[in-house]
Amino acid sequence: MVKFNLRKDVAFAIVFFVGVLTAVEYFVALPDLRRIVADLQSWGTIIAAFSLGVGTINLIVIHGRRVSSRTQGYYNNFVLLLALTVTILIGLWGTNMHPAYQFIYFNALVPSDTAVWSLLAFYIASAAIRTMKARTKEGVILLITGILVLIKNTPAMGVIWGGFTIIGEWLLSVPNVAATRGIMIASAIGIIALGLRVLLRQERTSLGG
């Protein structure tokens, strides 16, 4: 006798129905089908908006647990929860266009994010200098192409000799595009395979299976 698991089987039925319908609608020109898929997609955006809230609740639960059990460094978690609460309250009271919200966003969040991102400048420099050494044949190719593309992104060098720009653009437009396309095609095939496995209920990690 087939066991019926309400949660998993109903969830899978929804996934299958929506997935197949959306895929078919892309290729078939039927107005009624188009209307159904349009509704499904707008429901999808509503669910996605709710999932942002779920993410926030997850954050509160995880960090709240650490504060209540006084784990090592729990004061950091407390500061996070405090900042989260203040920002949410201001956002709810005055929307994200409110000066207080904009102040927090542009004077706390953005600078701290960009500060960490800017570490990349130092790390890229040290990684490039360390790695771009002519030790092997491949290393020589990497070295020469890397320098040429760096020069291409230095406009002043292009003004000194126009050939740098032509070579750099060729490297980006031909070998780079060829290699990137190969990876993109393989990735797209992988996405088809993943979608198929989900629709055929062969993907174990989806739907908690």
Binding site: A38, Q41, Y101, Y105, L109, F122, T154, P155
Partner: protein, 279 residues
């Protein structure tokens, strides 16, 4: 220890200090190094230049707040051009963290002082959650997916939206996207075959070029370089131009150190070979 070996074993902190000086000094005291214009920026510029007054442009934002220094000057330059062309603009954000930038753009570019009327010349829908699903839904039926704008005004009460019901009603797609590029192209550009120009960050630029080669993207602004080039075309120097000295000098520093490092490596190897031959 010889100079060459010392160079090869250079403490990374010395390198970080050099980068800091080379990047920091030109920001304080600009040198005004020359800037050319690449083919990618020219394509972006000509696509926007071909707009007629009243044409509607969908401006999409989808980048992490950490990349604001790369994307914000791009958006300022591109929107300046759109204002010059008297194009109408519909703003949409696909990530929650990018929504405050639209308000700042309106303020920094003085939309109101320039006579642009909200609701008639530009509309801001804020965040539409769901990335690929949201993009597909928005392209299919704008009014259903975005029933109200970020100020709470119903879409039917916005005069601009009377002529925009779906993706094909936009004359140009302009996106500032660092992630979900393939989603936007796959869900909005390709199904409706719309002209798309995009601003990217430096990391994503190489990965966006296949779309330019296939004609799905009509022009690309390559991070800070693209912004500076665009400002040059518009004859409106801004943040992009002022940051280029720092970027160019840092590139020169890295190239110099790479070349010196390889000279040091080659010399060390030659010395070792001759030492072994003597033995």
């Amino acid at each position: 220890m010889s100079m060459l070996s010392r160079f090869q074993k250079m403490n990374p902190k010395v390198l970080y200090l050099l980068v800091l000086v080379v990047v920091g000094l030109p920001l304080i005291r600009p040198i005004n190094l020359p800037i050319g214009v690449s083919r990618y920026t020219e394509l972006f510029h000509s696509q926007v230049e071909s707009l007629k007054p009243g044409d509607v442009v969908l401006v999409s934002l989808c980048f992490a707040s950490a990349k604001a220094p790369e994307f914000y000057p791009q958006m300022v330059a591109a929107l300046q051009h759109l204002i010059m062309k008297k194009a109408s603009m519909v703003f949409v954000c696909w990530l929650p963290e990018v929504t405050p930038f639209t308000g700042r753009l309106f303020t920094d570019l003085s939309f109101d002082k320039r006579g642009l009327k909200y609701g008639t010349d530009y509309v801001d829908f804020g965040l539409i959650a769901g990335t690929a699903t949201a993009m597909a839904a928005f392209a299919r039926d704008v009014h259903k997916t975005a029933p109200a704008d970020v100020r709470g005004t119903l879409v039917g009460d916005l005069p601009l939206m009377a002529k925009v019901k779906m993706a094909t009603d936009f004359h140009l797609l302009m996106s500032f996207i660092s992630i979900y590029t393939e989603d936007f192209i796959g869900q909005v550009q390709t199904p409706y075959k719309l002209p798309l120009v995009t601003g990217t960050d430096g990391v994503s630029f190489a990965g966006t070029l296949p779309y330019l080669a296939s004609g799905q993207i009509r022009g690309i602004l390559n991070s800070m370089v693209g912004t500076a080039e665009y400002e040059k075309l518009l004859k409106m120097p801004g943040k992009g131009t002022s940051y280029m000295d720092a970027q160019q000098l840092s590139h020169v520093l890295i190239i110099t150190l790479i070349v010196l490092g390889n000279i040091a490596l080659a010399s060390t190897r030659a010395l070792e070979r001759s030492r072994r031959t003597k033995e």
